[in-house]
Subunit: 325 residues, 3 copies
């Protein structure tokens, strides 16, 4: 257990544990962890048998509770949790109701659930799991250990290993691009690109990633979308980007590595957002964002400017005539 979590403890290394739990729910035999300082009172009162903390909080662990010291308690806890609750593996086998094209190529150990549809020439990497009702379009390529949950659909896409589509995720459909014709109708612009999902990309429930128009839409390795996120055509991201629920990125915006978009935030199209930028919840990016910057507000500005503007407005409106009511 210590090996798994890269932790240290003075306790008897043969001690056995029964499970994991939050500080306030743990009982005898459970391992827990201190998630944030404000839960120190819960640490005092916990009934857990062991708690993972940083060195700084070692002294706060109550007597009789084993202290496990780790640099990142959350990471250590996640790794211990995986010992007790290993991630589900594909259960190899093809459900008799699945419709699998004769020329689709399925690797060893693949699971295909009830009513799944796998199109012509699709390639499913070893040990991947295609959930009930998932639809894999023609020519789609999935790497190894991928997982499509119930009702996910994917077309016009190439995915690395360990890609996950949560229920109802939509990947590879046509982008939103058209031009007006003289008769008042709209003519769809060609949508011929694909979606490229890097290793370990995860797409949240009911989120959408459109295929590229003339080039491709690309999400870099480790990028994770929460639920109900929208990624327009030709967006590209680097590694490890984070899009919290209901964020939306318009077409052709280029995003660096480890960028965070908060919940319900958005970006206009054809922009550049530098690596390490953090876009606050509900903000709206309308121009390029330099690397490493925190932006907030709609329209989005450097966060400091936004906080100052809010404070200024509050001060002005408090002393305004309207305040005398």
């Amino acid at each position: 257990l210590l090996r798994a979590c890269d932790g240290e403890s003075a306790a008897d290394p043969t001690t056995m544990f029964a499970g994991i739990a939050a500080l306030d729910a743990a009982g005898a035999g459970d391992v827990s962890y201190l998630e944030r300082r404000r839960y120190l009172p819960r640490l005092k009162a916990t009934r857990a048998s062991a708690v993972i903390v940083t060195k700084d909080h070692a002294a706060a662990v109550p007597e009789g509770v084993i202290a496990i010291l780790a640099a990142q308690p959350a990471l250590a806890f996640a790794r211990i949790a995986a010992l007790f609750h290993p991630a589900p593996m594909a259960r190899p086998g093809l459900h008799p109701t699945a419709v699998i094209a004769a020329d689709a190529a399925l690797g060893p150990g693949v699971e295909v659930g009830p009513f799944a549809v796998i199109g012509a020439r699709a390639v499913i990497g070893a040990h991947s799991a295609i959930g009930p009702h998932a639809v894999v379009g023609e020519n789609v390529v999935l790497g190894e250990y991928c997982r499509l949950h119930a009702h996910a659909s994917i077309s016009h896409a190439i995915c690395g290993d360990r890609v996950v589509l949560h229920p109802g995720a939509r990947v590879g459909q046509e982008g939103y691009s058209f031009t007006p014709a003289p008769d008042g109708s709209y003519v769809t612009m060609p949508q011929l690109g694909i979606v490229r999902l890097g290793e370990a990309v995860e797409i949240g429930a009911n989120s959408c990633v459109d295929r590229g128009a003339l080039a491709d839409t690309v999400l870099g390795p480790g990028t994770r979308l929460d639920n109900l996120v929208q990624i327009g055509h030709n967006v590209t991201t680097g590694r490890g980007c984070v899009f919290v629920a209901q964020a939306g990125i318009s077409g052709s915006t280029t995003i660096g590595d480890y960028v965070t978009f908060g919940g319900q935030s958005g970006s206009a199209g054809h922009l550049e957002v530098g690596s390490g930028a953090r876009i606050a919840a509900q903000s709206g990016v309308i121009g390029d964002v330099p690397p490493g910057q925190d932006y907030a507000g709609s329209p989005a500005m450097p966060a400091k400017s936004v906080f100052r503007a809010i404070a200024t407005l509050r001060r002005l409106s408090e002393k305004s005539p309207g305040d005398k009511r």
Copy 2:
């Protein structure tokens, strides 16, 4: 009819009606109602045979139209409407294409539609209807008179009676929580809790409710989500909360009874929103909200402060130099 709607009328109690309709669409034989004051002109012009109004508007009902007096005309109208258009009941029977686990337990009168999937050890209460393509995961428990519409999916969940999932609703998938590892990858935090949906909870089309991490996600009895709403892991609500379309609540926020979140509003995680609070459309809650308060704006503040700030800014910008153009 008067009994159903708890109304009063001086008209002949043996009068028969043919249907219901809006004031401006109603014809002979129809029952209608006055929805709001601004529709008084429509009341004057209506061809309905009877109109439900409060006592205050009794005198505004045109001659020849029967006035039905009720304290809440909308409620009375809804109850009369249910006489003419009863809510559809489950049509008992299992479609031959459905895949139902041998050890799932289905109550009497259950309807299971084409291509529905019901997992191992799931329990479906009496008179529930599982729509076409709906997927019920292993161990899920549904109460009586529940209804899953087309393409809804539910896993890791226990539901009370009369719960409704509208088309494409997603309940019980993994929450969005992970921690960075030293190599730059993300490690998913354990997501082991379930979703508990109280009696008569409704989840709108394509809305998402994530399972809890270590504790559970809980929506109290009568809570209703509109379409495309996001509820993060470990959120809990009391009774009768209302989440209008595209609202989003981040993880671990605790919400009281009869709280309203307007369309496209949001809340950060780990907050408390008191009973009876009303959060305006598009506002963003970033701190605790006391009971009974109206909040607005992003970041959200008491609504009065927001309105004052908007008025102040408008006044200042109107007399600013930029105004002389």
Copy 3:
């Protein structure tokens, strides 16, 4: 090719081309176009064999590259693209796994995919394609050349020709309307109307259009919804309206012709938005919008007022005491 795109060129009319591509990706044999002025450097460097430009940019086309002159290069390019990549047609035939009601009426040339469900008395116009897992409810009418992509669902609806539902689109489910009863529960208001989709309407992936309550929800011909858009019950639009991703319109709002709602924008219910109005991304309409106006901000105001207010606030906060830090 010139005939298709209504363009002019001095080049040999028997020249043959191999395909289409963006300026920076094109090679020998490709036709490309100048999308916007800022891509003039890409025009200089392109390896395309021909480029579509307006007369103004004819001189900027490099030597050796054929200039095709067109009033709207994007439109001309879209039409040429359709020659090389024609829109997929329905592949006539009914997949053996589809469940089609005996009294549904399917026109000639209809394609029905695996696990599609077509309800009683539904009418599917000639040459329409019903994708895998799509669900068409009882009595639904689809025109000719319609296309439902994977997992789309539609009920209580009548559609014109060439309507497209992208993956996971939800059309015709119950609207979000209820009234409180004295016991604290909610009673659903009658939802008896349908959805009417005009010719060539497109509904984006995972977008939702609710059926009307007493009247109908109507989207006019050519209207296009991006992904994750919400249209409440009884909303009506004229021709050619545009709703960018994650926009949301509350119930009973009336929208004219060629109105644009930007990404993540919203409108309250029971309002009127005039023809040609443009609502900026993330703005929130809370009152009627006159025809032809640009609105922005939350709450939405004429865009000029919003820009002035933002400039005023920036100026005030820059010279405020807080600025001295």
